[in-house]
Amino acid sequence: MDLSALTVESTRTAVAERVLNPVALAEEFYKKIEADDPQIGAYLTLCKDRAMKKAAAVQAAADKGDALPPLAGVPVAIKDVMTIAGVQATAGSKILKGWIAPYTATVVQRLEDAGAIVLGKTNCDEFAMGSSNENSGYFPVHNPRDLSRVPGGSSGGSAAAVAANLCVAALGSDTGGSIRQPAAFCGVVGLLPTYGRVSRYGLIAFASSLDHIGPITKTVKDAAILLRYIAGRDKCDSTSADVPVTDYEAEIGKPAKGLRLGVPKEYFGEGLDTEVSTAVETAIQKLAQAGCEIVPISLPHTEYAVPTYYIIATAEASANLARFDGVRYGHRSSSAHTLSEMYRRSRDEGFGAEVKRRIMLGTYALSAGYYDAYYRKAQQVRTLLTRDFENAFQQVDAIVTPTTPTPAFKLGEKVDDPVSMYLADIYTVTADLVGVPGISVPCGISKEGLPIGLQILGGHFDEATVLRIAHVYEHETGTGR
């Protein structure tokens, strides 16, 4: 069976029409994972017994002639920052090694209610902190397009699993670019929904005002399909918005003619690789040919987004990660004699270098005497960044930019230089700070054979327009299936 040809759309259709047997399909995926994943490292945990039981239940319903749920039998992967009751959840950290989640994340519940089959949990940077997946507490992920390169991060395992056909689609999380950047590096589609669009109940928290869950897929239509099933108000997450869910699949069929696309000059300056720049400019021309009006715009505070992000994200992380103290769950140091020693040593042994660096930066930014200079200042600049976008969306319907300044870099290339690693997120962090939705779609291949991503950002809760433009682009270029 050619697993590379399968999309969410084609799989669910084939299962519904009784052409594809979900049990046999899941078996095929586990065989491919066994054969290919040792080189890639996309999965941390496989839940095969559980998946085969779910697949058998779908098959039994199909055999009985029952109507099947909308995602029946579609094999998916879940980033290991989301919980599934009875399955280990590590967030890529040694501190959670062996932790069996006692409850299931709303997004996973919704996918399973729709009939999807969860194959396993994917590798990621520890607590989703990283842009290369090299901060995984277990092993790094290799980019399936070039094994010497990083898949991006932090949802590198999910993006690599989709790109290498080790699942049909996956869920990732995005706090500063962690869905879109690895999607760009691996040549797949990654969707960041609006803040509040998708429940985070069961997401292991990194930075609560910035954390989002979204799909990583092979096609724009697949992203639209998955979003429809995971989106919407959840009583278990008070930050999930009370905004009706659109039928995104129906919306993306509409033409893009007449839509105004803003091209911010700040996203095409110093540091942008010429091949990426050329690919993105060519993509913008394609969208103009499809009838979009191209409007030069300015987002003047763009250069302040990364420093703002690294204050706010680390400050929130330092508070969120205070819960890991070795008392109730997770790693406990065996060398401690007092309670205080137990907290400190458990945390020092359990957390990796980047997590400690961010806890330290965040604690520093919140500490007495520095709060106003750093944390409050960053919150004020967040307002300025939001105003940039509000002004832009008065002139345009969506904004198009590169997803990343360069294609995938080599493993080891940036590990000793945190600032250079942080700047890999330069085009993605702002959407998280402002809360707007965005997507990365493949828009070309570099001379070295590496994928390049086009980013499309939309107004709050306007995923429909973002998906519609991405879908039109995909079909203009014939990259969709």
Binding site: A241, A336, V381
Partner: protein, 109 residues
Amino acid sequence: MKVTEKDVQYVADLANLELTPEEQSRILKDLNSILEHIDRLNQLNTKNVPPMAQTSDKFGIDASKQGSDRFSYVMREDETRPSLPREVLMENAPDSDGAFFKVPKVIER
């Protein structure tokens, strides 16, 4: 250098981290290089700019409502609901007597 060794020790103490001497010197170097990048925020005049903690108090809410009424949809009846069973939660405890978490002695006699 803005951050000193003493600051690193003080902040590690606040964060409940016990850093090795090697980790301390690496974090000292990294914090200074990151903060140097972050200092560009001071180029901006933010006088009279309100701070923003999150986006959901501005977007995706009923704009015709005021104050906390905008979030009335998160309210629920104040009633008890079952929580996760103790035996399930205790399975993840590093040390437990089944009913309670055990930790090193807190008070010396």
